[in-house]
Every structure is written in C-alpha cells, then in structure tokens.
C-alpha cells in the first residue's frame, strides 16, 4: 500500500465505496476479492504519466537465434511488449528503467537501460518449467506461485500433428493423462486424468479461453497457444462440481504486442491401416468349416459351387486415406489493439472407404485497450464440419462387419439388366450389383459390408455448424484491483440427412439379382445445442513487504440447452424417393404422407456458482493456495442443490533457503502438498451413461414399447423411466497430493514426482431391483479410490552452439480399486454384459478395480471322454464333450458352474509411460516420441464370443483349434453348437501391454538471413510419421480400446489405429 500515489487516493476511495454499495445492494457478497494476475493485465495501472522514450533492441538465444514472443516489460509498470519473430522489440520506457525479459524455456533476465540506443540481450536457456505462466481457472498464475500440478503443453506441439482433435496429440506427453485415440476422423479420444474416478462421467472438463466445454471440436489446433492439464485438488477445486475428472484448459492465440504477423501453414499426408487382424483365406475357411461340420457329425462336404472368390474383406473396405490441413492466420497488434484472425481447412479421411471429415474454421478476436484502466474485447470461433457418415456408425463397426463374410464371396460388382427400381415396371436399366452372401450360411446378421459402404455411405449429409463467441470487459482500479466480466455463448446445430437408396445385390450361386432394399427412405435429424456462460471475477493483488497475496472472487452461471428433432419420410410405393440430393428431405414431394413421422427430444440444465481463491507466499519461499466454490445445480433436488467444494495447498521452495546455497546439485527444489474436495456432475439413467438431466423428475417412457393398443388405436401410457431419489447429491472426490519439483545440474535436469490419491465418495450408483419388479434408481453409495505416482523427468543439453539434445519421459503408476458400492445393492455388483447374451462381462464391485473382467478360468481342453470322467462335472448349463473347454473348479465343490467364475482381468494399466527425445543441429531437428502401457488386460470378443445366430469367417488362430486328442489344449474345437465354449473365460483375455513409436518428426527451419530477402520472417518444413510401429501382444488391430467407466478395454474387432505420414510447411511473413 505504501506505493500508492497520494493524488489518486480520492477517486480510489470513491470507487471502493461505490463498489461496496453495489455489492451491498445486490446482496452479492465477495468475501474475498482479488486480482487475477495475468502477465498482461496484472501490472498496476497508474504509472503512465511517467516520462517515457522508445527503447529498441533484439533478443537472441545462446545459440545465436532470434527469440520471438519474449515478454519485455518495464519493471514496476504496466508497460510491456514482446519480441517479434526476428527477436526485435520496441517500447517506451523512462530513462534508467529496468527491463525484464522473460520467455518460456529461458531464464528471466533484467537489463537496466542507460539510454535509448539498441540493446542486445542474450537469454540463457532454462529447463525450469517453474517460470511458466499457466492457466489455473478464472485466471492465470506463475506456476512458481502454485502448490498444485499443472502441466503445460505448447500449442506448437499439437499444431503440426495429423490429428483433428488436438487432445489426441497429447498421448504420452503428460503424466497422469490417459489418451486412447479414436480412428474415426473427428471423434474424441477416450481421455481420463488420474484414473477412472466414477462409474458415471470420467472424461475431463475442457476450458477453452474460460468457456467450460465438453468437447473441443471447433478448435483449430493451429490456433492453440497452449494446453494445460490440471490434475490436482488445489488446481481443480475452483471448478467445483466439474472438477473431479480433471481439466484440460486450452488457450488460443492472441496477437503479440507490436507486430503484424501473417502465418500460413499446410500439411499433407497419407494414412494406412497397419496391424490388420488375421483371418483365414478361402482355403482356410474350407478346411476349418469342414472340420467344424465333422465335429457336428456332418460328413458330406459343403457345396461351394459358385463361391470361388478368395476375398480379403478388410482390404475391400479400407483404403489409403488422405490427411490435409491448411491454416492462415493474421495477427496485428498495437499498444491499444490486438487483433487476431484465423482461417483453417482440414480434410481428414478415415481408413474406411468414403469416411471423410471436412472442417472449415474461422476465428477472429480483438482486444481494445480504451485507456490504461479499461480493456474490452471479443472472441469468435465459427466452424462448419462435414462429419463422416453418421457419427454413430464408425470405422469400428465396418471393420467388424468386414471380418465376417466368408472369403469365397466376390467383392466385385456384376452388371445386370434389371427393372429400374426408380422407374415404372416397364423401365429397365443396367446396374452394377454387389454380391449377396451365401444365405443359408450367413443369412443372419452378416451382410456384404460393401452394400453399406458403397451404396449408403456417400448418401449421408451430416453438417455441423458451431459458433462460439465471447465478449469481455476488464477494468483495473485502485491500483491493486481488477474486475473482469465475460459473457460466452456457444450455439451449434447438427443437421443429418440420410438417404436409403434402392439397390440390387445378386445371389452368388445363381447370379440372380434382387433388390436388397425395398423402400426408399430419408431420415432427418436436427440437433441444436445452446450454451451460455457468464463469469464475473474480481481480483486483488498486492505485495506487503515479504508477503505476496492474490485474491480472486467470482460469480458464474451456466446454461445448457438441447433440442433434437428427428423425422422420417419413406416411400414404399411405385414412385420412390429419387437418388438425388435435391430430394433428401423428409418432405420432398415423393414421400408417402401417411408414412411420415417426427419426434423430438429436449433438455436443459443450469448452474449458479460462487468462487473464491487466495494465493499467498512469503518471501517467494513459502506458498499457500486455497480455493472454494459453491455450485447450485438445477439437476439436483432442492434440498441438496448447493454443494461446496474446496482445496488448500502448501509449498516450500527449499532452493531459496540460505542453507541451499552451499550445494550445487539443485538449482530449484520445491515440495508441495494439497488436499481438496472436488465434485463430479455425472447423473445417468443407466450404466451405459445415458445422461440424466432431471434426476428428480423421472419422465415417462415413450415409444413403441410404452403404448397401450386396442385394435389399431394407440394410447400413451404412464410409465416413469426410473425411481426418483429426493436425496440425490453430486458425488465428491476427496483428493490429496504430495510432490516434489526440481531442477538440477545447472537446470539441465528437471523433473517432478507426485503421489496422489483420489477417493470418490457418495458415488452415484445405479441400482436395479428388477427382481422385485422395480425400476432403476440412482443413489449415493459407493467409493472408488485411485492412487498413483507420477514421475516426469527431462534432460536438456546444449553440446555446442549448433548441437543440442533433449530427452524426457514420464511414467504414471496407477491403482484403481472400488472400495464399496451402495448398501442398497445387496448383490454388491454392477455388471456390464457385452456380446452374445452378456458372455463378455465386466464387474464393478468392492475390492476390485473398476470394470474388472469376469469369467471362467480355462484349465485346458478336454482331450477325451476319460479326461471328462476324471474331471469335476460341468453343471453350468451347456452340454460338453471332448474338445470343449475344461473350466477350473475354483471353489472346489466338485462341480463347475457359474459359481466358479472369477475376476480374470483388469482393463486399467498398472503403469503408463511416454518418452520423447529431440536432437537439434542448427535449424534441423529430429524428434521421436514413444508411448506405452503395461499390466492391463484386453477382453477380446471376436473369434470367440460371436452370437450363435451368426456364421462368421474364422480368425487365423483357429487353424490350431482342437481336432482330436492331443491337438490343442488352448483353442477349443470348432462348433457353434458347443455353447459351453462361448462363455467368457481366460481364453478371451489378452495382455494389453504395448509400446508404440507414437511420433517421429524431422523439421528444418530455413536461416532467417536467407528468408529476409524474400520478406519472409520464418519458414519451416517438416516430415512427420505417427504410429509408425506398435509392439503389442494381442490379436486385435490395436492394443487400445475406448469405452466408458464400467466397460472398457473390449476388443470388438475394431479400433484400428492407422499409421499417418505427413509433410508440412509453415511460413511466417
């Protein structure tokens, strides 16, 4: 306070009185108000009267490269700028002022000016990430001042990777962050931070420039300045009811002071399917099918007449796909105005034919400094996206379809002269028809996948428009205060139109064509999302001698609204809806009016929240952080509507202590610990995560199964979807963390070790009392604990002026355990049953990791009747004989039945790791990233648990199936009739451990001297290969499978992750 200028006292006090009065009037209490220190806005406001003169200079790295985006500020004032791409800067500063130069990756440096003359600054590299400014929710802070664990990833790390969803590029980069990519273009990966904390929502919250989001489809990876991953209680409590699953905060680019920059970059490349699953060919099928028939006593050979092909169906539905992304950005900045404009286009093809994502992105932002106290601005992102096919049918399904047909069916088309399905009965045309399957063999549930891929996939229009915008106003007052109000809106519309054409298929044996589809049809879906958010945040920041204090108080509301209209129009009559995009609407003039219908779905929810935070440190050595949030949610019954969340944290920067001066090992050493209570806003209707927006108001079941019929009259009925629970509240996560951060060996080594525990309590548990004829109910019961250790280390070495090397890695050990489930579930079990009457089972129960696989333990195969006679009798229900599985009598009661099943696998890895290395020579650099997991299991359902209704092609490993005594003790005899072998068992379990070469990149930046002649500031070219090789132990395409909280790690014959090779160029003017 002693720094306050006397002349400003009066207006300041008036302002304060006003403030207090307003606060009283509105009964709007900021108990703690504070300043949020952004690097840009914190600096106290009223120094501008001081005399100033321009100072110019250039900032270089130790290697002699110009360093851009270095923050240059006049110490003790708000004046500041940053260097341009050539390292140059210019700013007004009073004579004798001290300039502070700071930039990520470099040690902060001060320079006392002596005159206006150009100065040259050489920054020393720092590996100490402590100097970073990080996003902490409702503001930013120096990482050094925090007691939690926040990992910052620079935007450039994701910008040039061939992933339409930028978070996918974080795989293996951040300890504690699990990323399982999804190969369908644009589809979000399965992301979990520090374990599976709930049986409901487990995906993190995204915060994009302050907007809370559940996805980031609309963000151009090239617009990202940085991504912060918030993992610990002290960082997350400020997000209250949405904090428990962790936060991924994304900051988009803003113009840097004092320059106009035009950047253009483009990337182009190819994708290819690798690690294709192995199936038998035509000869293999014939051999195995004959073997299976023999097992069932059928000796006469199967008649293959007309079935002469040898098709690899997976090859037929896949392709070499393209990836391309181009972006243009213009940013311009003056002292008063910062303007940013971006334009992007992405084409992302899937490896399945016709699967294509196209995305157009536009972003514009502007920030105006009206005077030294007042600032306002806006930010707008608009995107238009052509989604691949319908988003619900993705690559995984087609890959699963493609493994099923027998190879004997031809994948090609044949030309037939047939009745024109669109014409009158006298019109005939030539058509190219694909083959049907052999009906007797594969009539049920198996189709030629090319029917869908070639006839239907290009007849879907799925366009998503999204507009995300915000405006803000910010004022600095009373020297230490800052107030910022922001209003956000996110409006999006997804319009899907899908046309079902009439097309022919031919019988492969008789070559007779017939219509595969009988009715032309158009489905139209129109979905609208509306999200509004407002934040009002007051900050106070001040130093009192050795004490530094930052206080933040805020008020925020959130509204979510959704509507969906679905309609269908079809025509089974003589004049079908034409195969012409003009008519792909429900009302096209061709539809059968009596057969047109519509339905809708709609929901909304809101939250109102208060938040407060204090960051304190003493002498920059002892740190205390505390935060608090009250969330009121429309989704929770009134009695429990307000819930409070909080965290406290402390840290000690030991390296600042005097006694550390004696040692030369550590350049930086900090101990930290935090504790907090976080919330998880996850309410769902069933275990598969159907969201529940009105838990206290069960709506009525509607649709085909909930209607009373009398004759042909239909009446609505009253049948509540579930039982309401008036006592419901959000589940909470009690989390604590202890850790150490350090830098050593002259800042060459730095690292972080954290131990964390997250215990979920009052878990929202889904209980079923169907045996009493009751509906399901959500109760608060159950606890889950996730605990683990994260280690990340990084070593940087500058060998010479030209050579440098950097290697880093991280590893996360994680243990997940369900501590208990609600007492209302007497069975103590939550079961997810997949595939074939639920044979592939996951159980969530106390004492075991969440979603543990459950089934029989296979001891071997019964070799002969004698073997059966001497083994315990199987009474599980199915008949069995030689060649069938011998399950273990685990409880030793002399018989084998359902009671002998046990936990046979855990889908959560024991540890996950990532490492990267980079070698640079002058402007050339080569980097390699690896990722991997260890210790988890995969439940493979294909090639073992197919439905008995379906005949599918054999997996190649079946060539080793039991075919007589002594032939195999692992793979049972081939027989769809031997249902005993279709029980979930250890036969389905595979190791999920893998090591993947995630990324290799070679990049070269052209020397600036060369470029300056062409008026180019910088130019960089690069080559990138993603997913070059995966070392794995399972039969599937990939060792990683997405899922939800209580069912994941299943290999349903999908999940192929392609290798992607790209080349790109990045030019800055």
């Amino acid at each position: 306070m002693k720094l306050r200028r006397p002349g400003l006292d009066r207006p300041d006090r008036t302002g304060l009185r006003q403030l207090l009065r307003v606060a009283r009037l509105s009964a709007f209490i900021f108990l703690t108000a504070s300043i949020q220190a952004t690097a840009h806005n914190y600096f106290p406001a009223y120094d501008y009267q001081q005399q100033a003169a321009p100072i110019t200079g250039v900032v270089m790295s130790a290697a002699g490269e110009p360093v851009s985006a270095v923050s240059v500020t006049v110490k003790g004032s708000s004046t500041g700028t940053s260097t341009d791409v050539t390292g140059n800067f210019s700013l007004n500063a009073p004579a004798g002022a001290t300039l502070v130069f700071s930039s990520v990756g470099f040690l902060e440096q001060e320079f006392k000016t002596t005159g206006p003359g150009p100065i040259k600054i050489t920054l020393q590299p720092s590996n100490n990430t402590m100097d970073e400014v990080v996003v902490i929710g409702y503001g930013v802070a120096n990482k050094r001042d925090l007691t939690g664990s926040i990992v910052k990833i620079e935007g450039k790390q994701v910008a040039d990777k061939p992933n339409t969803n930028p978070v996918t590029s974080l795989a293996g980069k951040v300890s504690g962050l699990s990323v399982i990519p999804n190969a369908t273009p644009g589809k979000a990966p399965d992301i979990r931070i520090r374990g599976t904390v709930s049986i409901g929502a487990v995906t993190p919250l995204y915060v994009v420039d302050g907007i809370l989001q559940d996805n980031i489809d609309y963000i151009n990876p090239n617009d990202i300045e940085s991504i912060e991953v918030l993992k610990d209680p002290s960082s997350l409590a400020i997000f209250g009811v949405r904090g428990a699953t962790g936060v991924i905060a994304i900051t988009t680019k803003r113009a840097k002071s004092g320059q106009t920059v035009v950047n253009f970059n483009t990337t182009y490349g190819f994708k290819k399917l690798v690690d294709k699953i192995k199936l038998v060919d035509a000869a293999g099928f014939e051999k195995l099918f004959a073997q299976e028939r023999l097992n069932n006593g059928i000796t006469d050979p199967f008649d293959y007449s007309g079935l002469t092909a040898n098709t690899d169906w997976i090859d037929e539905v896949t392709r070499k796909a393209q990836f391309s992304a181009s972006n243009l950005s213009v940013s311009s900045s003056t002292q008063k105005n910062k303007f940013n404009f971006g334009l992007g286009y992405t084409l992302d093809e899937g490896i399945i034919k016709h699967e294509k994502l196209q995305r157009f992105l536009l972003s514009v932002s502007d920030e105006v400094k009206l005077n030294d106290a007042f600032k306002m601005g806006f930010n707008l992102n608009v995107s238009r996206q052509n989604n691949p096919y319908t988003l619900n049918v993705d690559a995984a399904n087609i890959l699963d379809d493609a493994r099923k047909p027998i190879p004997q069916i031809s994948p090609g088309t044949k030309n037939f002269f047939v009745r024109d399905p669109y014409g009158s009965e006298f019109d005939s045309i030539y058509v190219d028809a694909y083959s049907r399957l052999e009906e007797g063999l594969q009539g049920s549930g198996v189709v030629n996948p090319l029917f869908k891929v070639e006839n239907e996939w290009d007849k879907t229009i799925n366009i998503e428009y999204r507009t995300v915008g915000s405006v803000f106003a910010e004022v600095n007052f009373l020297k230490h205060f800052n107030f910022r109000s922001s209003v956000y809106a996110d409006i999006s519309n997804i319009n899907k139109r899908q046309y079902f054409p009439l097309y022919y298929g031919y019988n492969p044996r008789t070559d007779v064509p017939s219509l595969v589809t009988q009715t032309s049809k158009v489905l139209e879906d129109d979905e609208t999302y509306r999200k509004f958010q407002q934040d009002h945040v007051l900050n106070y920041k001040n130093d009192f001698g050795d004490h530094a204090l930052t206080l933040t108080g805020g008020f925020t509301t959130y509204y979510f609204g959704y509507t969906k209209r679905s309609s269908v129009g079809s025509q089974a009559g003589d004049i079908p809806i034409p195969d012409d995009e003009r008519f792909w609407y429900v009302t096209s003039g061709f539809e059968d009016q009596a057969n047109t219908s519509a339905s809708s779905g709609q929901r909304e929810n809101t939250t109102v929240s208060y938040l407060a935070r204090a960051l304190y440190n003493y002498k920059g050595k002892y740190f205390l952080n505390a935060s608090f949030r009250n969330d009121a949610s429309s989704r929770i019954p009134k009695v429990n509507r307000n819930q409070q969340f909080y965290a406290i944290g402390a840290a000690w920067e030991i390296s600042k202590e005097g006694f550390m001066d004696q040692q030369h090992l550590f350049d930086f050493l900090k101990l930290k610990a935090s504790y907090g209570k976080l919330g998880n806003q996850s309410a769902f209707k069933s275990l598969d995560n159907t969201p529940l927006d009105y838990p206290s108001y069960p709506t009525l079941v509607t649709g085909n199964t909930a209607a009373a019929i009398f004759g042909t009259n239909v009446f609505n009925v009253a049948d509540a979807e579930y039982i309401a629970n008036p006592d419901l509240k959000w589940e909470t996560v009690t989390a604590y963390e202890g850790g150490v951060e350090f830098a050593a060996f002259g800042n060459r080594l730095n690292g972080e070790v954290n131990y964390f525990v997250k215990e979920t309590n009052d878990m929202m548990t889904y209980i079923s009392r169907a045996s009493l004829g009751l509906k399901d109910k959500l109760v608060n019961g159950g606890s889950i604990r996730n605990q683990g250790v994260e280690v990340s280390l990084n070593w940087s070495q500058q060998f010479s002026k030209d050579w440098s090397f950097n290697i880093g890695g991280n590893i996360t050990f994680l243990k997940n355990k369900v501590l208990k489930l609600s007492e209302d579930i007497p069975t103590g079990l939550l079961i997810r049953a997949n595939q074939n009457n639920g044979a592939a089972e996951s159980r969530t129960t106390a004492g075991h990791p969440i979603a543990s696989f459950f089934g029989y333990e296979v001891e071997g195969i019964y070799q002969d009747q004698a073997d059966i006679d001497k083994s315990p009798e199987y009474t599980g229900g199915e008949a069995y004989g030689p060649g069938d599985f011998k399950f273990k009598d685990l409880n030793g009661d002399g018989v084998v039945n359902k009671d002998d099943r046990t936990f046979i696998g855990n889908p959560t890895p024991d540890f996950t790791y990532g490492a990267s290395a980079m070698l640079s020579y002058k402007m050339l650099s080569l980097s390699i990233d690896i990722t991997g997991v260890s210790g988890n299991e995969i439940f493979r359902t294909w090639g073992s648990l197919e439905s008995p209704f379906q005949r599918v092609n054999y997996a190649a490993d079946k060539l080793g199936a039991w075919s007589g005594p002594g032939t195999s003790n692992t793979i049972p005899k081939l027989s769809q009739g031997s249902r005993v072998n279709y029980n979930g068992s250890t036969y389905n379990i595979e190791s999920g451990s893998y090591l993947r070469i995630r990324n290799i990149q070679l990049s070269y930046g052209l020397p600036t001297q060369l470029l300056s002649r062409a008026k180019i500031k910088a130019l960089r070219v690069f080559l990138n290969v993603q997913n070059l090789k995966t070392f794995k132990n399972n039969l599937g395409y990939s060792p990683e499978f997405t899922g939800d909280a209580t069912s994941f790690g299943y290999d349903f014959a999908g999940g192929a992750i392609p290798v992607v090779g790209t080349a790109g160029i990045n030019v800055t003017f």
Partner: protein
C-alpha cells in the same frame, strides 16, 4: 473516472439480476416432457394403460420366457429354432434342469413383479385421490380402472402361483428397499388375494369392451375376469365355482365359438380372428402401414415373431421369425389324422400349407434338412396358429417382407372354448355327465367343421362314465389348445405330469420352478441372510 464507475454499475447489475432475484428461477428446471405428476386427472387411466403395454411387450407375458414356461415345458412343444440357438432353454425347459439364474426365468419373474408393482401403484393413486378429495363423486371410468388393475394383479399372481407355488405377496407400493424384504406367502393366501381382486374386477369391469367407447376393442371385460377366476378354481379343483363362473360367462351372451377353427388365428388385414366373438381376452398388438420403414407405427409384440418359421438355409422368403415353440413328434404321432384341427395347428416342413381352408396362404414350406437347417429348415413342424405371420396381405401392408417380423399377432390369452371345456370338466367332476357331454360336443362339432350329429370325423363322444369322460376332456383340451401354452399346467393339475413328462426328465419337484437367485439375493438383510427363501424342493 466517471465512466469507470458507470461500468461497474452495469456489470454488477448483471450479476445482481441473475445472481439473486433470478437465481431460483434460473435453477428451477423441470423436464420438457411429461412426468407422472403432469398427468393429473389422466394419471390413473394412464397407469392402467401401462399394464396393457406390459402385457404386449414384457418377455414374461409376450415373448420367449412366457412360451418357455407355458408351452415348451410341455410334451407337445419343443424349443424349436435350430440346434445352436438357445440350447440352454432345452436344458431348462425341455429336460427340467431348472435354472436359478438365467435370462428367461429371470425375465419371467421380473415381468410379473413389474406388473404387480404397476397395479399396486395405480390402486394407491386411486386411494390417495379419494382421500385427498373426499366429497368428489367417483367417476365410472375410475371404477373401471380399478377393476382393470385388480384383474391384472390377479392375472400376474395366478401365473406366479402356478409356476412357483408360494411367492412373495406385495399388495402395496414399494417405496423403500426395506419394503421389498418379504418372504414367500402360502399359495392358499395368494389364492385368497386373487379371489379378492377378481371379485372387485367382476364387480367393476363392464360387460363389453364397447362400454369403454368405440376405440377400445379388446379392453378388459367382466367376462375376462370371470373366465380367469374360473381357471383359478379349476386349478384348486373347486368344481362348483368353476361351473358357476363359466355359466356366468356363457349366460352373458357375449361370446360364441367361431364356426371355423382356423378363422380363430386369422390376424392379418381384416383378419376375422382378431378380437373375435370367441375371444375373451387377448394382448393387443398393432403394426401399422409401412411399419418396416417407419418405427413410429410399430406397436407390435414378439409373440408372433418368435414363433414364425425360421429361415436357416431356406430362401429369403422364409425369413419369417425366430422359429421357437414347435410341435413335437409326440404331438404329431398321437393326434389322429382325421381331426381337421391337426393340420390347422401343425405346419409341416416340405409340404403345401393347405391353402386358405386350412389356415394357409397357398405356399409350400421348404424342407427340413437337419437340426442346423443347412440348405433348408431346421424343424419338421411349426406352430400354424401363428402362421398368419406369413400373410402376403399383411406383409405388403406393413412392408415386412423377408424381415422376420410378425409383430401384429395378438396373444390369445382367454378364449371361449376354454370356458366351454372348463364347464365340461367341472360338470363331469361333479357327476353331471350330461352337461359335460353337451359341452364337449360343442367343441368337437366345431372341430369337425360343424358337420353335426352322425359325422365321421371328430365324432361325438357320449358320456359313459366319469373316468371315460375325464379322459375325453383331457384329450380334447390337448388338441383344442395345442401349442397355446395350456398343456404343462393341465398335466400338473391332473397329476399326469410324471407319467407324460417323466420320460423327458420331469420329476415331481419340477411342478414348481425355483425362485430366481437374483430375487433372493435382493432381499439380503443387514445380516447378509436373504429374507426370501427358495422353494424348499430346490
């Protein structure tokens, strides 16, 4: 500084408005779709309609589990389908190795208790309303609704008591988990409860569906309640009650036997068998025009679909359904060929379907090849009483060509022929041979095609003695109701089950099914000991 102050005002005004005065309103969100509370006056009616909905859709009333328990368990019907489909059902229902935890028995149990809770809740709603509005005159519609709820409650309990013997009795809404901690109640008490419910139903239900208005064909009537009640007495061998109640139904004059047996099952476009004069109660299903491409008009049931011819290796035209519940060789061989009902009940693979005179459509059925149905069908016989599922007219109307759906077929739950045969059986037991003979003759004459006295086929059976007449009635029930789900329970109540089903693996304890383990587990008290006990024989 003035403009700064002004801006503060504006900013805080926003907060103040949304923050305090608007806060509650902003947070009070109700679903944008009806809930139970929104239904107000329609609440009781809509809850009762839900019972009809369950009857049509729940597995334990309308699909495989019902068929497993009622029909496949008997000696005249088998699981059907093909060798690899649903093998566990053979174990559980054809060979009497009952399962305590499998999908079909679990679903059967759950469906019935779901129905019971629905009826309990509806009746509680009525009670709440009458307490809340004491002076208000109760509308006839409300009375009817109570009658319907009581009928469904009795129906569900009757099925349970037949299947399991003693079962938990819930006659109140389950609110807390503790409410569900109930042990089995004796069959006698369950039957008393059924009686009290049917007494209410008989008193409150209208004589005819038309009394509900013109839009409710097939809705519950007093005749249905009396017929069900008569059945419950039949199982308790209270013959005088059976005679009294069946006579009540007959004298109502609302029902008659259709002259042509095969007409009973005609359920296609304009099908005369749907809600016919012989129908006392059927679960109603409707599949509208073009339903194959328009889900919105599909209000079908799995009842018909699950019993249609299963395609296997036959041509696409024979993808009619799942192929469950098929006649056995035993039924086929023991049934005299001169009974015209035989070829109207059994559909033979590899033969002509008999054309319209025999309930066919003029098609030839593909041949049976082997139990896997390689290149043909996997069953020799099919249930022809649902063969209306192959009706070309209905397939054209609904668009279900080769798509294996016949959702439009009503499940005939109570029909007049049963009233006649119950009267015959009870009269015979009471020593009234003349009435027995006369009623048996009604059924046999109709079976012959109404050829009357002196006919050569399905001849009249004159009363000789009680034992002779008893056997004649047993045989008549077997032929008349073949594949309809009467056989197993008839054998059990006649004490003939051991003799007829013993060779298949039946033992005396198999008359009752074990209670699903999941239901028992659900009643675990704090000590961990389940309150609900298993059937002692299991």
């Amino acid at each position: 500084m003035r403009h700064i102050r002004l801006n503060f005002w504006l900013l805080f005004a926003v907060c103040a408005l949304t923050g305090m005065s608007g806060c509650q309103k902003f947070l009070d969100r109700q679903p944008l779709k009806a809930t139970l509370d929104d239904l107000n006056t329609g609440k009781l009616e809509a809850q009762v309609l839900n019972m009809y909905s369950q009857l049509r859709t729940a597995g334990g009333f309308a699909s495989l589990p019902w068929i497993d328990f009622h029909s496949i368990r008997g000696d005249d019907a088998a699981k059907g389908s093909d060798a690899s489909d649903g093998a566990e059902v053979i174990t559980e229902f054809d060979t009497y190795q009952y399962s305590k935890d499998d999908w079909a028995p679990n679903d059967y149990w759950n469906s019935h208790y779901t129905m019971i809770n629905t009826t309990n809740n509806a009746i509680a709603t009525y009670k709440e309303d009458s307490i809340a509005n004491p002076g208000v005159v109760i509308q006839p519609a409300t009375y009817r609704n109570i009658g319907e709820a009581c009928f469904f409650r009795a129906y569900a309990y009757f099925e349970l008591v037949k299947t399991y013997g003693d079962v938990p009795l819930f006659n109140f809404p389950l609110v807390t988990p503790a409410d569900g901690l109930v042990d089995r109640t004796s069959s006698e008490r369950i039957y008393e409860f059924i009686d009290s419910n049917l007494a209410v139903a008989v008193a409150l239900l209208p004589l005819s569906s038309e009394d509900y208005g013109s839009k409710y064909p097939g809705r519950l009537t007093r005749g249905a309640a009396n017929t069900l009640w008569a059945q419950t007495y039949l199982f308790r061998k209270q013959w005088d009650k059976v005679v009294e109640l069946t006579n009540e139904v007959i004298s109502s004059g609302k029902y008659s036997l259709l002259p042509e047996f095969s007409d009973l099952w005609k359920d296609d476009v304009g099908g005369v068998g749907k809600n016919s004069a012989e129908s006392i109660f059927e679960a109603q299903a409707s599949v509208g025009l073009g339903a194959a491409t328009n889900d919105a008009v599909w209000f079908g049931s799995s009842w018909g679909t699950c019993q249609q011819v299963r395609q296997n290796g036959a041509s696409n035209d024979w993808n009619l359904g799942w192929g469950w519940n098929v006649p056995t060789d035993k039924l086929e061989s023991e049934w005299p060929d001169d009974d015209p009902r035989k070829r109207k009940t059994i559909l033979y693979s590899g033969e002509y379907d008999g054309g319209p005179e025999q309930g066919g459509h003029g098609d030839s059925i593909p041949a049976y090849t082997n139990p896997d149905g390689v290149n043909g069908l996997a069953q020799k016989y099919w249930n022809k009483k649902v063969y209306t599922g192959n009706s070309p007219a209905m397939r054209a109307f609904t668009g279900y060509t080769r798509l294996g759906d016949a959702g439009w077929i009503n499940h005939r739950i109570l029909r007049y022929a049963d009233v006649i045969l119950m009267l015959a059986e009870a009269s015979n037991e009471l020593g009234d041979g003349g009435t027995a003979e006369a009623n048996l003759e009604l059924i046999r004459d109709r079976a012959s095609g109404g050829e009357g006295e002196g006919r050569s086929i399905v001849p009249k059976i004159a009363f000789v003695d009680q034992e002779q007449m008893r056997q004649a009635i047993k045989d008549e029930r077997r032929w008349e109701f073949a594949m309809e789900g009467y056989r197993f329970y008839d054998l059990v109540r006649w004490d003939d089950a051991l003799e007829e089903l013993g060779p298949l693996g039946y033992t005396n304890r198999a008359r009752f099914y074990p209670i699903p383990q999941q239901a028992i587990n659900l009643t675990a008290s704090e000590t961990g000991q389940p309150v609900l006990t298993q059937n002692p024989e299991w």
